[in-house]
């Protein structure tokens, strides 16, 4: 019983990670960059929800739509201003600008919204009872939504023209360009999708814990990135798997008092162990340079 409960709690934690990891993996897989600002786009999405809920239209669904739209615009803007000029430069340069963008978003948010954390109550969904187990509804919804998003993304990438173009860009930018694919356009679309996913992640994070500050996305962002790497970065199902795995590990670790304070260390240790066993993550594709 307790085991099932802990697993469920793990799913609850992990579904949020999975949602963020999906965004990481999309951007990484196609634009080939560690978007350290992804977590801060989540935070912006959170503030958009806050604005909506504080306005006359206090409806979470409208808030979500608003957040998605704003985040997509923000994502595209960031890409155009900070990342696009560096296409073709070293990935390290892009990594550093991503960090710069992350600082920029955090301090802008503090300037606009102040330093105090905001309370954003979206919906009170209550619990469902399963044979003596109380499961919060938001856990089920987050889990369900992340599975749906994962499936939609997979189908999108596999079966639409844009999606296939994305795979082409991912495998070889130069060749894709030669085949008439608008590489810049595809990368812009990727950032739009990634940022929309960030907005969703923000929504589900606030659904669970209604406290919003300008560092909302920082640590979950890193954890989710770790999850994406565990699952095999670039792999959409891998992101989901990695996220859930991280969540379950976290839940188990928190359950045992002796190791609970070391939870972060344990999560990162698992990452190292998994990478040592499978250097490309669980579902990652091993890429080998041709000699």
């Amino acid at each position: 019983m307790e085991i099932i409960e802990t697993l469920l709690n793990g799913m609850s934690i992990g579904s949020t990670y999975a949602m963020i990891a999906l965004g990481y993996t999309m951007v990484y897989g196609i634009a080939k960059m560690l978007n350290f600002a992804h977590g801060d786009v989540i935070m912006v999405g959170g503030y958009m929800l806050f604005i909506t809920m504080a306005s006359a239209l206090s409806n979470p669904i409208i808030g979500l739509i608003f957040a998605v739209v704003v985040c997509m615009i923000l994502g595209i803007t960031i890409e155009k201003i900070a990342y696009k000029p560096l296409r073709g430069a070293s990935p390290l340069a892009v990594l550093i600008t991503a960090i710069g963008v992350s600082y920029l978003l955090q301090s802008t948010a503090q300037m606009i919204f102040g330093s105090a954390p905001k309370m954003v109550i979206l919906l009170d969904l209550g619990n469902i009872e399963f044979g003596g187990l109380k499961v919060p509804v938001y856990t089920l919804i987050t889990l369900g939504c992340s599975v749906v998003i994962m499936l939609v993304l997979s189908l999108f990438v596999k079966y639409t023209k844009t999606g296939r173009a994305m795979i082409a860009v991912s495998e070889d930018k130069g060749a894709a360009q030669l085949m008439g694919i608008n590489v810049n356009g595809i990368i812009t679309i990727t950032f739009a999708i990634g940022s929309a996913l960030a907005a969703f992640a923000g929504f589900f994070m606030l659904l669970k814990s209604p406290s919003l500050s300008n560092t909302l996305g920082a640590m979950p962002g890193i954890k989710a990135f770790t999850a994406a790497v565990i699952g095999g970065i670039g792999s959409i199902p891998g992101a989901m798997l990695g996220g859930l795995l991280m969540g379950v590990v976290e839940a188990i670790s928190f359950k045992i008092p002796v190791i609970a304070p070391y939870t972060d260390a344990i999560e990162f240790l698992i990452l190292i162990v998994i990478l040592l066993v499978r250097p490309s993550g669980i579902l990652g594709r091993k890429r080998r340079e041709k000699v």
């Binding site: 897989g29 196609i30 920029l104 890193i222 990135f225 199902p237 040592l276």
Partner: protein, 379 residues
């Protein structure tokens, strides 16, 4: 005699000379009491930052591996060196001897950890190695965070003795010189060539008989040794060592110094470390009260603009005509025979720090993906 003098490669020594002169100038100023304590703190911080940046530069700029765990090694040095000095203080006093022994303890243990983390480096590629080093740093931080109060101070941090602040910054600069000497001598030797060859082309390097494993381990070990030394200096320049300081954010800050300084340029790392630390401290102390929120904003803007300016392929033409070097060249006659030693132009470093994974939607892990690139020039 004059001939011998002319034969010395002055540009190899220019950074020693500059650092030594700065050290002497400030040392004299400190003796005459002309140095304010805020400048002393600043100097200590700059010295520590230079050691960190230069030691990371060897990993990132010369070996071509991305490490996001440099702060972790520093953390080990700071805690263990600090603890060593606490234990030694009753026996050996708080003098120079304690300092040196603590340095060796902190540096050596950090180096050991560097070797341990260097082992996975042999298996993992750039970006995966980066995340492993990041994870390592976070593990170290988390462990020290949760120690018992008696052992390493727990969440409140370890209280360490602060070294005499009129002298510490001079010692710190001496260590900067030592770091420079060791790392530059390493780089400017056959071993340095082997290391740079790994960065430039690992496959060719192996085929040329370079023991890549050995050199990766050497570089990780030496680099973390100096990170550990920087950590011990940090513990001597502060009353408390708190592990929350050594998060991945700090590692990234060091990385920023290396990247802004230019890959494979030690002088660049020194200048970037100095300027960033200076900017950081000045922003922090000048922007008081309500203005404090502008610090990060300003820092972020500087970062983005500098990186784009330095790296954007579209600005290449502009960079080549409008840069500091061109400006400096106006003051000296440019001889085309002058060629930078082992300095890799940043935009040409074929980074192994590659983002290489391919988007996939498959549920089955696939064994190998070999990109079949067309030959550059067919026949």
């Amino acid at each position: 005699m004059a001939n011998m003098f002319a034969k010395i490669k002055w540009k190899h020594f220019i950074n020693y000379i500059v650092v030594a002169i700065a050290m002497i100038v400030f040392g004299v100023m400190s003796l005459t009491g002309a140095l304010s304590s805020s400048t002393v703190y600043l100097l200590e911080k700059i010295a520590i930052a230079i050691i960190l940046a230069v030691s990371l530069s060897v990993v990132v700029g010369f070996l071509g591996e991305l490490s996001l765990g440099h702060a972790g090694f520093m953390c080990i040095g700071a805690y263990l060196g600090g603890k060593a000095s606490l234990l030694l203080e009753p026996v050996m006093g708080d003098g120079f001897l304690t300092l040196i022994v603590s340095m060796i303890v902190g540096g050596a243990i950090a180096a050991l950890c560097g070797a341990v983390i260097g082992l996975p480096a042999l298996r993992l590629k750039g970006d995966y190695l980066a995340i492993v080093t990041l994870a390592f740093g976070e593990i170290v931080r988390s462990i020290f965070m949760n120690t018992k109060k008696e052992s390493f101070g727990g969440s409140l941090g370890l209280e360490t003795p602060r070294y005499d602040k009129d002298i510490l910054f001079i010692i710190a600069f001496v260590f900067v010189l030592i770091t420079l000497a060791v790392l530059q001598n390493l780089i400017r030797s056959k071993h340095g060539r082997a290391i740079t060859s790994i960065r430039d082309n690992e496959i060719a390097s192996k085929a040329t008989g370079i023991n890549v494993t050995k050199y990766k381990l050497i570089v990780f070990t030496i680099s973390s040794f100096f990170a550990g030394i920087a950590g011990v200096l940090y513990s001597f320049s502060n009353y408390t060592v708190q592990s929350s300081k050594f998060s991945y954010n700090y590692s990234i800050e060091i990385l920023v110094m290396v990247v802004l300084g230019g890959m494979g340029s030690i002088n660049g790392s020194i200048i970037a470390a100095t300027l960033i630390t200076f900017l950081d401290v000045k922003l922090q102390t000048i922007l008081t009260g309500d203005l404090a929120v502008l610090q990060d904003l300003f820092y972020a803007l500087v970062l983005i603009i500098l990186v784009i300016y330095n790296n954007a392929p579209a600005l290449k033409g502009f960079r080549e005509t409008h840069n500091l070097k061109v400006l400096l060249d106006r003051f000296r006659k440019h001889s085309p025979a002058d060629r930078k030693d082992d300095e890799a132009k940043w935009d040409r470093v074929p980074t192994k720090i590659s983002m290489d994974e391919v988007l996939s939607v498959d549920l089955q892990p696939q064994t190998t993906y070999t990109p079949d690139k067309p030959k550059k020039e067919g026949k």
